[in-house]
Symmetry: C2
Subunit: 287 residues, 2 copies
């Protein structure tokens, strides 16, 4: 199925929103792409780079007559944003998002949208440590997965349209329950980010001389903390919107750390090797 939208509104023209716009430009899937967002500078850049055709002064005017609206701002802004645009959405419009949190956020958005507007919740797994529209590229989603988390209220036709868009972007679309999504991503994405932020904090707190420590960091530390360069604002929102799952995973993580710490403290070589070996085996099975 090939899709074409007369008018697309992208709210939040950063790495993800900008890359999706570029895909639609490159494949001529949109008649016109309007960008909106809080940072005027980003919009100016997006215009100069040809990522969008026009910028709107506010989200409400951007969505006017739009067939497709993409929410690509930090997830913490979604509810306010949807309240703002809801009265201006045309009948038959499809709203989708690229947020890393689904679950109750999806239900909240559904409740705010008027009848006749379809919402298709999405989450492309294509983050990067760099962010901003200058990093946007039409190949960002190639080979990536995009998760769609329909609910019983989701319109199937709209689902198909959004699925076709992501397929055109080169992504493999996977369907998942919204709550399951938040469980899974708390474990494999949100926790690693929190863990990496915490690690940078711990080393920075060593105080004067910690720069010298960092000079000696090997590939492990660098790999481990690369994701810390991601947008702090975006990750703040993700953690707060998926708070219950993230807190639960931090608790589990702290238990695992305590378990290892105890084995080290007691000099329990057998236990320590067992813990490390199990972890190592699971990791090797991943590839």
């Amino acid at each position: 199925m090939t899709v074409f939208f007369n008018k697309v509104a992208i709210i939040g023209v950063g790495l993800i929103g900008g890359s999706l716009a570029k895909v639609m430009k490159a494949q001529m899937l949109a008649g016109e792409i309007i960008g909106a967002g809080r940072r005027r500078e980003s919009l100016e850049q997006a215009l100069q780079l040809g990522v969008i055709d026009r910028s709107a002064v506010n989200p409400a005017s951007a969505v006017d007559w739009a067939d497709l609206v993409v929410l690509a701002t930090p997830v913490g802004t979604f509810e306010t944003l949807v309240r703002e645009i809801a009265p201006h959405l045309k009948k038959g419009a499809i709203v989708t998002d690229v947020g890393s949190v689904k679950g109750s956020l999806v239900k909240a958005i559904e409740a705010l949208l008027p009848a006749g507007v379809s919402f298709v919740p999405g989450h492309p797994i294509a983050g990067r440590e760099r962010h901003g529209v200058t990093e946007a590229t039409e190949v960002l989603f190639q080979g990536a997965r995009c998760i769609l988390t329909p609910t019983k209220r989701t319109d199937r036709r709209a689902m198909d349209v959004v699925q076709s868009l992501w397929t055109a972007a080169g992504a493999t679309v996977v369907e998942m329950d919204p709550d399951m999504h938040d469980h899974v991503f708390a474990a494999v994405s949100h926790l690693p980010h929190v863990a990496a932020y915490a690690m940078m904090c711990s080393v920075a707190e060593l105080g004067a001389g910690s720069e010298q420590y960092l000079n000696f960091s090997g590939a492990g530390f660098r790999d481990f903390t690369r994701i810390v360069a991601s947008s702090p604002e975006m990750w703040r929102d993700i953690c707060l919107k998926n708070a219950k799952n993230v807190v639960d995973m931090i608790d589990r993580y702290q238990s695992s750390l305590s378990c290892i710490k105890k084995a080290i403290h007691r000099g329990d070589a057998k236990k320590l090797e067992l813990l490390f070996r199990q972890a190592s085996d699971v990791r090797r099975g991943m590839q």
Copy 2:
């Protein structure tokens, strides 16, 4: 300064020991290289690959008449090993190691070695997630740093010899106090490994279905846990030999995690963003 050793004994012919042997072969820095180690299979492989010239049945016979002895087994074996080889070391022999822990381990080794034998403690920063002699390569140390941690008992001439060997391997040699070394590496290397092992444990403990979770892991999780594939035995020993510093860093890390967890739990967006932003700024400063 160019170095040449008539006979070199490498105890532990894995990734690091094997790579150093390959450097000496490639640059003809050794008349003969004898390998010793616990795994007969590894020694057979090392022989077949031409990494060593001969294998010895035990470390004591390997060091007989050796000018240079390299300890490249897990650090937990060093003291037993040095006790075993000490009576067989020739006068004037240089003993060096490639262990990731220095501090009190260096003092223990110094105390076990006979007069007339020089010990130069070393630590090349060149780990990899793959291990074993089949991964050994003469380019492993190129562009890497090798830390030497002399004490007041270290012979300067022997220091120069070992320094020349690492320089020939393409490494940049840095001198550091042994205790300082263990502080620094607990922070930038040992803690990240513990953190990654703990993370794999937490996800694996989610139980049945955790494989499915891992299917959705993005680049962050993969980067974060890559080091978990390192040798469990090696990391067990490192943690136990640097226990005080590692436990202290785990404590600091858990405090940072608790601090983030509290902010998420309370919905304190300001605090959370501040924590993430500080971490992000430090990371960006690193490159």
